[in-house]
Symmetry: D3
């Protein structure tokens, strides 16, 4: 419903119950792929689960703790991108985490990279964050490519940190600082 244009092909919309059917359809169709990396997939078994997730994400937007969007490509809902955990602890610099997934039918078109560029504008521009970071399984190459292409810096490897379907995975941590983002614009 309410959105921001990224370019002539791509836009992001703040997630809303009217997106529930399309989101669930993608999740369900990509279930095998997504279930390798995304633990919530096993709790997303019906459009009702998706609707509950959306209500929770809207609540967090109101709390100023998350900004969860769906991605449109040529008018079709194709993925999800979110700024997460924006409520920091007192002795942290202001920072947020990026999370994202994309319908496999729309891979290799630069859609996620373009959508995330807009989310960086939101995080650094509207929420005054100092640092935005991405955590992804070291074995998830496609996901790790995103921060590398966007100029994020690799900060380390969290050992046996992610747990999906009983499998423990190491995680790469990448970050972009405000002044790096400003310099790159």
């Amino acid at each position: 419903m309410f959105g921001i244009k990224v370019d002539d092909e791509v836009s992001v919309e703040l997630i809303h119950p009217s997106h529930a059917d399309a989101v669930f359809e993608i999740v369900d169709r990509n279930r095998e792929l997504f279930s390798k990396w995304l633990v919530w997939i096993e709790n997303s078994k019906s459009v009702e689960d998706t609707r509950a997730f959306i209500r929770s994400a809207m609540q967090k937007y109101a709390d100023l703790s998350e900004v969860t969007c769906v991605i449109f490509y040529k008018g079709v809902l194709v993925g999800n991108v979110a700024l997460l955990n924006l409520k920091n602890k007192p002795n942290d610099t202001a920072k947020g985490e990026l999370g994202y997934w994309l319908d496999s039918a729309y891979h290799k078109r630069g859609i996620m990279r373009r959508a995330i560029s807009k989310m960086l504008e939101i995080g650094f521009g509207y929420y005054a964050y100092h640092k935005i970071y991405i955590r992804c399984a070291t074995t998830n190459e496609r996901s790790c490519n995103i921060p590398q292409k966007l100029g994020f810096v690799h900060e380390g490897v969290f050992r046996e940190d992610i747990l999906v379907n009983g499998v423990k995975m190491d995680a790469n941590i990448y970050s972009l600082l405000r002044w790096e983002w400003e310099a790159s614009r």
Copy 2:
């Protein structure tokens, strides 16, 4: 931040803390005019009050009970338009109330009429409401003109119903039904 284009001049954006300064500036500059009709004006004395109002409106958006937007005209924030009270009682048909105000510097350009047309799409289209109504003081001619121009039907006069600054005012009630809205498109 997140918005919907109405036409080449007008757009609406879901209200967000980043709008606080501009909203308060208009409220403060139009204080004399607004205080005749809007009771909240006396509690809106600083940008902090505006920020608290915005946080409350975002919460109601997450609850699916209100949709509060700011109106942009040629890129300038000029007003506010909202679908209110969308959580109905069990034996009411689904209905919502429209509330609105506009910077007096931008009167007479059809801005509010255009913004409300989009809000009607949201109310009838995304929230499946059967009826949208407007209540305005009988003496507030400019405000009463809006529903008349948009094809709303006058349903009655609520006697001594509105209370602003100790003055009791009669209120006109106008409504538009879903099938009337669909017929007019």
Copy 3:
């Protein structure tokens, strides 16, 4: 339990769990008639439902937002009368809504009119309301007679406003202002 005498035949008592059996018995016996106008009837299927309604009404009495009474006629519980929605919005004059139902076995004895006279004293006298209003389906003649006999003024017709069992009904709105009530005593 705790009550107010209206006249030698009629009294009202603040609703209490000890009324649950008698209330449910009337609701159940009048189910066909009540279900035409009262949407809650379909959720009132057992004395447990009635008990839950009573607990909720007692809570609202404590919140000063409702006063729900049962009506006694010659010592027999015969109906319900309530001042509802007493917590007003900031730019409304202080007002409350009257709701009521009566066992059909006790129609045509002026019981409801007498009970409501006492409720008006409570609303205008103990809660300092400026306006008390009644909303009833235009087709519910018996219910619409009550405000007419009590000197309420017809303010308008809310189109397709009430929804009972999937049927949309127009609603008459009647009101009595404090000065009208005082003049009539």
Copy 4:
């Protein structure tokens, strides 16, 4: 407002904000006497404090945990009587405590004894309690007389149990069982 007649002279009314002025006037006028036995007296310094107490008592009535009444004698508000702590622990028989105070100008007329008789009917009759008890300082003779006159049984002395104004006092415990009450009627 809502009440129960005890006899031609005495009645009890469920406490309501409309009683606040009269209650505070008595508390304030009897401050020296009451402050010997009632610890809350020091926190009851204005009619606002009384109003807050009344709101809290109404809440507990809605919770079915207390029944707080004011006593009227020949139409004048003269005291307070309450069934307290009606929410029992799982391994207690159902029981409640009686608390009371009376304007000293109305002592020696049997008013409290009569009011309490009605409260016993409420406790044993409407709330199905098995036991009603009274705890009062052993030095408070007037208060200890009440349970003795009403047939309560002395169960023991709680040593250094009551604390008022830094003074520790022993407390008499009296109780009346349901079958004792039934036998006495």
Copy 5:
């Protein structure tokens, strides 16, 4: 986990989920004996129920309203002892209640008496209580022996006060005052 040594044989530990299996095993094995005096036994049918009880007791420790411990004898968990109801009412002297149970396989070794001596130190020493009391069924001789051996004073008999499995029982009340405890050390 976190504990206090009483003597070379006995210690008490603050209750923790890691105690759940051992606690439930004792409760289950002593079910016939315990069910005569302890009403909660019928709601403790699985280790899950025990775990829920432990979580609730930990919550009350955080609230400073209870201190619930398990008793170890020569390294084996053998019983439970708790300071209960430490949040007093405004006109009570500061006081708490002692509750306890012991695996029947460990009776007659003075374990409970030793454990309670430490709990008295906690109640009078760390929580500054003026009075610690015990309430037990007059027919529960073993339980009544404990306060008698520890120098508690008998204050009275609460008639038909305890309810277990539909049986109403009289209760002995014993108490120990701070100055009595200090004098006995």
Copy 6:
């Protein structure tokens, strides 16, 4: 109050209001040193602030989300050690963070290393965690020595991640996995 012995000199006690005075005295005496690394120090200006922190830590112990202890050395309270953030997100392996500070008068005696050894037993033994990690400013050499001496592995450097008194600091991340801890015992 409730504690665990580490060795003949060192023990840890679950934090309790009775520790408040001693904790605040250390914080206040080490204020200059602590304020370089610990952001909460500026909000800890009185023993009341310490008491509020303790109440909050007790609440988190009850929630199973934190275990906050004070460290005793030869009977003197000398520091604080805590397992933090034990409530993990769904797709994380079970992990907790270690936080700690020590009165500078007791540095260089191995006290913290010994206390942490016990906390690792608690985290891996009683809470079944897979990973325990430490985050400390790269410039805080004394603090970084601790995980190095205890066999933790360095996982990376979080750039400009810690914010104390307006200074952004890089942070070292160290972790110990369950199987590493088991192998080292």
